[in-house]
């Protein structure tokens, strides 16, 4: 008995589709070499179509072709095309606006528990510092880095402390204060990034960093309180402190989120839980860096220009308004629920009883 056909089916299969493969190969080579921007509109349109056609060729070849060289080629071609097609999303119109006013606040709100913990650690630090300093003011040196204190310590006179709040008696030029604010932005943003990244150590360093920042805050507050300057200090602190401390809390919460994903991954593997947490908190940290920038601007420009307590509190209220509005209101879905038509009394009682049964 003679074998029927002499030419393998995969030969015809290849002949029919080869053209598409070469076309895809050419587009992919171009895209990988100089980016998707190198493709013109019709080529961009062709790319995904050819990619899917090649994927289907690959699936067929894997099952039916006995030509390993062919399967390997298709495998490599499809993989290359995947990189070109799914390399990254092209930014669409309004992507930045959406990221800022929708994604960022939503991601922040999703971190509810971590935000509470983060605020808790910071507050705990402040309370501990306050308590210790009311027993022994010398603790101040342990909590505050002298480089950041700039002479504002328990050994300074009340006049000097007051002067520091209003920019008096300082021998520095106003311009240098601007420099100091920019330096502070970089310094703070670094700490914020650290606070997030250290969350990878099960969140412990993030918690410690928050706590130590709280210590510093508490020590400052107590120092000024002991001289009867608390009201003035808070007025000085709040305008830039709201975005700045808020950003520290956000970064800390993001770090704690990483730690939490590692410690309690739930049903997912730790790897998956960590990646999920990392992606979700990345946007929060990016937003926090922006907040540090805003705080730096307020610190550098507003704080030195305005020395009136009332205006400072007004600015603080304004900052608080947009800050909390942005984080807790922005990006909520604007879909208004249709009002339920008021049902007849009997139907209403039936509905409530059935829903209470469901709840039970």
């Amino acid at each position: 008995m003679k074998a029927p056909a002499q030419t393998p089916r995969s030969v015809a299969f290849r002949k029919e589709r080869e053209g598409q493969w070469y076309e895809l190969d050419r587009l992919v080579e171009k895209a990988l070499k100089s980016g998707l921007k190198a493709l013109d509109a019709s080529e961009l349109h062709r790319l995904p179509v050819l990619y899917r056609a090649t994927l289907s060729s690959l699936s067929v070849a894997r099952r039916t072709a006995m030509d390993r060289a062919l399967v390997e080629y298709l495998e490599a071609l499809a993989s290359r095309a995947y990189l070109a097609v799914y390399g990254s999303r092209r930014s669409t119109r309004g992507a930045l606006r959406r990221a800022l006013f929708e994604t960022f606040p939503r991601r922040v709100r999703a971190l509810g528990l971590e935000l509470a913990l983060s605020t808790g650690f910071l507050t705990l630090g402040a309370v501990v510092a306050w308590a210790l300093m009311s027993i022994e003011p010398g603790w101040y040196d342990a909590f505050v880095d002298p480089a950041l204190a700039g002479g504002r310590d328990p050994y300074a006179s009340t006049e000097m402390l007051r002067g520091a709040l209003y920019g008096e008696g300082q021998d520095v030029h106003g311009d240098e204060l601007g420099f100091f604010a920019q330096f502070l932005f970089v310094h703070n943003a670094r700490i914020g990034l650290m606070c997030f990244a250290l969350g990878f150590a099960a969140g412990i360093p993030s918690a410690l960093l928050l706590f130590s920042n709280g210590l510093m805050l508490g020590a400052f507050l107590h120092l000024y309180h002991s001289r009867g300057l608390l009201f003035e200090l808070v007025g000085w602190l709040l305008p830039h402190g709201i975005p700045e401390i808020g950003a520290v809390i956000l970064c800390g919460a993001a770090g704690l989120h990483l730690g939490r994903a590692m410690l309690t991954p739930g049903r997912r593997t730790i790897r998956d839980a960590l990646a999920d947490a990392g992606r979700r908190s990345a946007m929060v940290v990016a937003g926090a860096v922006l907040l540090f920038g805003i705080a730096g601007l307020v610190e550098g420009i507003f704080r030195q220009a305005v020395t009136d307590d009332g205006t400072r509190y007004l600015m603080a209220a304004f900052n608080g308004l947009w800050f909390f509005g942005w984080l807790f209101v922005a990006g909520r879905s604007r879909v208004t629920r249709p009002k339920r038509p008021r049902p007849a009394a009997t139907a209403a009682t039936a509905a409530t009883s059935s829903s209470s049964e469901e709840a039970a």
Partner: protein, 293 residues
């Protein structure tokens, strides 16, 4: 010593598994080196420019802007390039590497941000621990230093320890770094005309179904490799004769043809054997090797 390529399987949105070679450690280090050199150059240029401008105008604010810009460049470099160049920085493009999302979906901006935010902790903190330990640890007691040091060491060695060469940033971003595979389509032996010099026309060698029933896919692949070597002129006629007569003997192909025209015999056999196996495959009968029923 060359590192062995580790295959990474990624299932794209279409549901077809694709395979990539993981970027080796040396490739990643080289790409990082290129990027760091560029980054250092950029930051240095900005700083020098602004410090000079600041000194010239006597304004410290301009210097401050330089510091802020340097910070933004340092942290934005990788993020901007990886989002705008489809997961590649200049260094990665040079070494043909790409960042891909482990879940197979498109590479999202937040994954890129996450993987790059970790770099500071991953590289610069261990570096600080080695170069300036007193600054990092301060006067912390040993029971705090020891776990920190172990932790830093594990973090630093993560790419060496993990099979897919993932660093901590890759874990947190859910990403992998792969090498762009090379694709080259070789000519298909079976697509060639069976008419070759050496035999009168029409006198094609044909095998019966029974003769084609002996070998499976693995033997076919071996034969394909041999034929590719013939094309490259790497096989002696004597070897061909041995292979051809062995096959003829095994499948019961009589006559002196395998001995006389071994190449012709092998090429015809390959083509028909493949046609036979592919036909059987259509009926769901896979024969992976000659031992396979």
């Amino acid at each position: 010593m060359r590192e062995k390529d580790q295959a990474i399987e990624i299932i794209g949105p279409e549901g077809v598994p694709l395979h990539f070679p993981a970027a080796t450690l040396s490739e990643r280090v080289m790409a990082f080196g290129v990027d760091m050199a560029l980054l250092f150059l950029g930051v240095a240029c900005v700083l020098i420019l602004f410090v000079m401008a600041g000194a010239g105008s006597g304004s410290a604010s301009i210097m401050g802007i330089g510091i802020v810009l340097a910070f933004l460049i340092q942290h934005g470099y990788f993020i901007v390039f990886e989002t705008h160049w489809q997961g590649a920085t200049p260094g990665k493009r040079l070494l043909r590497l790409k960042v891909v999302s482990r879940d197979g979906a498109g590479l999202q901006t937040d994954a890129v941000i996450a993987r790059n935010l970790m770099r500071d902790v991953e590289l610069f903190v261990p570096a600080a621990a080695v170069s300036a330990p007193e600054q990092l640890y301060g006067d912390a007691p040993w029971w705090m230093i020891a776990p920190t040091a172990i932790w830093l060491l594990v973090m630093l060695l993560m790419p060496v320890l993990s099979r897919e060469r993932t660093r901590v940033g890759d874990l947190v971003g859910g990403t992998l770094v792969v090498r762009i595979p090379k694709a080259e389509l070789q000519s298909d032996e079976a697509a060639r005309s069976s008419l070759m010099p050496g035999l009168p026309q029409g006198d094609a060698i044909t095998f019966t179904t029974q003769q084609l029933g002996h070998y499976g896919e693995r033997e076919l692949e071996t034969l394909a490799d041999l034929i590719r070597k013939i094309d490259q002129g790497k096989v002696t006629p004597y070897d061909l004769q041995i292979v051809a007569t062995t096959i003829a003997q095994k499948i019961g192909f009589g006559g002196d043809l395998p001995n006389r025209l071994p190449e012709r015999f092998l090429r015809s056999f390959y083509k028909q054997q493949r046609a036979h196996l592919e036909r059987r495959l259509l009926f769901g009968q896979r024969k992976s090797s000659k031992y396979d029923g």
